[in-house]
Amino acid sequence: MMAAFPHAMPVEGLLGGLLIGISAAIMLLGNGRIAGVSGLGARALGIADAGAPRAMAAAFIIGLPLGAALAALLLGGVMTRYPAAMWQVVVGGVVVGYGTRLGSGCTSGHGVCGMARLSPRSIAATLIFMGSGIATVALMRAGGLL
């Protein structure tokens, strides 16, 4: 399968995606909240004044590495290839932090929750961040930064 894309993981991607969607469904139907990681993270740290109760936000955020650790244990390891140039992680991280607050969400809140709700704001945000992400990586490729 996917002979044209030798590195693609369609099955793991779909299964992992299902887990992410189930998690977001639990947050919505259980807690009445959007499973937006940037918003919950900011709330857990007190950077956002409004939003989910802080204990709930913190519980979700703490769950993320716990679940990842459990998956790594069951799968016998998970690949994490960070950019060799750590300045890309530092600068990219700061811009991601600023942008997700200004734009009220990231891949989870807009890309999964809002898109599934057919929210025009989230659909617009997702198209924009995918577009600027593709443009950024294209520039990096042209500039030899990949």
Binding site: V37, P65, V94, Y98, T100, S108, G133
Partner: protein, 132 residues
């Protein structure tokens, strides 16, 4: 408690789907290079249960564990949304990281993910300090 379980399922999903791997995420955005479509499968897989959840939500008076739904109003598309999403995409492409995988990565590659998370917190704090 439900939030902790939901967070753990989310983190497991990120790890299983390869989204905890910044190079794989960046390869999805690299349409002029060695394009890796995995992220599209992740999004597709996540949208199905979430779309079902929204149809159930419309029929529920209140959530199972809370007194009411607290959901963002579907306001119009404004400048902060557009500029914020554009900036987020730039940082996402530069690093291969968005907030979920960075935080989940604390259990997988603590040193590198730690730097990413601190950088994201700094960006969020910068937004708070400058936008009020």
């Amino acid at each position: 408690m439900a939030a902790l379980v939901a967070g753990a399922i989310f983190g497991a999903g990120l790890a299983l789907s390869g989204m905890a791997d910044p190079q794989r995420v960046r390869a999805f955005l690299d349409i002029f290079g060695a394009w890796d479509p995995t992220l599209a499968f992740v999004m597709g897989g996540a949208l199905v249960p979430m779309a079902l959840a929204w149809t159930v939500q419309r029929r529920l008076a209140r959530p199972v564990f809370a007194d009411g739904f607290a959901l963002p109003a579907t306001r119009g598309i404004d400048a902060p949304l557009v500029v914020g999403a554009m900036l987020f995409g730039i940082g996402w492409g530069l690093s291969g990281l968005c907030p979920g995988p960075a935080i989940a990565g604390l259990a997988l590659a603590p040193a590198q993910a730690g730097i990413a998370v601190v950088a994201m917190i700094a960006g969020m704090a910068l937004h708070r300090l400058t936008r009020r």
